[in-house]
Symmetry: C2
Subunit: 226 residues, 2 copies
């Protein structure tokens, strides 16, 4: 196969706690162990969040540094992607780990609704995160929660705020954002091919639609997130 | 023509001041005069914002009441649509005029970026505005700034939060939101036809793309906003 399917594993996410699922890895040691299992099973990219000791979401650069160091040791060659998302309202602290120069980091380029709140990514924060990623040689994964986010990423590449080629993740299944809709998924792919022919893409289904999005992504030639 | 094109006139908007354009009608008296001219020229719907005396955006129900009364007198039969949008962060004051039972009111069902900020429409505010519109018999015009907003409006109709048939406006040309893109515009129309076949739609181009969106809307059988 000339275009191997890349598996991206998101072992923790920003919200689920041990109360939701006793298996969710919270501490850095648990995360490293869990990622190593996924790496040995074939995952290529680790999409990483870190947590405070009380399991609440964190962007602590020291925690990210420890996780990155452990993954480099236990999963040699795995692509490490740190999350700058999820912690709406936290401003620039969301990008405090970018000086660690991870291989990749997630980047939202627009705002949208989440189940109970607005996921706020104001334009000046987006531009600052993108500039930090250029400074520290971090490749962004664009989190497209809606169609305009694809257009925005392309505009940012055209005017130099993002370095190409783009890698865009289509996120579906978050309540009050884009549902898992096959027709839309195919239109996302057509839009990427039309506006940024050299871009790569992957699909991520949140919650119960995860397997659906994996299936669509593999069938249509993209990468995917488990 | 079995499906006449409906012209919707937005005489004021929420932001331009006399400094930007001396012709922009700010006071209620100016707005009534300007709308009457548009009505006599063939406009069917008046999309209305109100302003404070210093020209800043307002949602004052008393101002909306005076405007509505004047329009009913000077533009008999014209459809009056009051805006609940634009004033991000203002919360429920954005819907304080709904008890006036205007024919229509605008309703954003999702959040997105604007030129310099997040246009915040948190889920609980959206649900409250929709409930007020049901209570007071106000037909919403859904302001679709992005594709997921169409999906969200359809979901809200399905579970009874919105009364059908839907009327959806495709808004394009706001910086950091959806640009004026013909392919996307046509996909919006296909999406509405697929998910809500009884819905009506119109196109609104902001700023320099206004005429473009008018042209596309008329060519493709929708209503339009001038
Ligand atoms: Zn994540
Ligand atoms: Zn990915
Ligand atoms: Zn308006
Ligand atoms: Zn309209």
């Amino acid at each position: 196969m000339s275009n191997p399917c890349i598996l991206c594993v998101a072992i923790t996410g920003s919200l689920p706690t041990k109360a939701n699922n006793p298996a969710v890895p919270i501490t850095v040691a648990e995360q490293i162990e869990s990622t190593q299992e996924a790496f040995e099973a074939g995952a290529t990219i680790a999409h990483c969040h870190v947590r405070n000791d009380d399991q609440t979401p964190s962007s602590d650069p020291a925690k990210f540094a420890a996780l990155k160091e452990g993954l480099e040791k236990h999963c040699p060659g795995m692509i490490i992607q740190l999350s700058t998302g999820g912690r709406s309202g936290a401003g620039r602290t969301r990008g405090g780990m970018l000086p660690l120069s991870p291989d990749m980091a997630s980047l939202s380029v627009g705002s949208n609704n989440f189940p109970t709140r607005v996921y706020e990514n104001p334009p000046d924060l987006v531009d600052w995160l993108a500039a930090e990623m250029r400074t520290y040689g971090v490749k962004p994964e664009i989190e497209a929660f809606d169609l305009s986010h694809i257009h925005q990423a392309v505009a940012m590449q055209k005017d130099g705020r993002l370095k190409g080629p783009l890698h865009i993740q289509f996120v579906m299944g978050v309540k009050n954002a884009m549902p898992a809709d096959r027709d839309t998924f195919e239109y996302y792919i057509r839009t990427v091919k039309r506006l940024a022919p050299d871009a790569t893409w992957c699909g991520a289904g949140i919650g119960r639609v995860q397997a659906t999005l994996n299936e669509w992504s593999i069938a249509l030639g993209g990468h995917t997130r488990t």
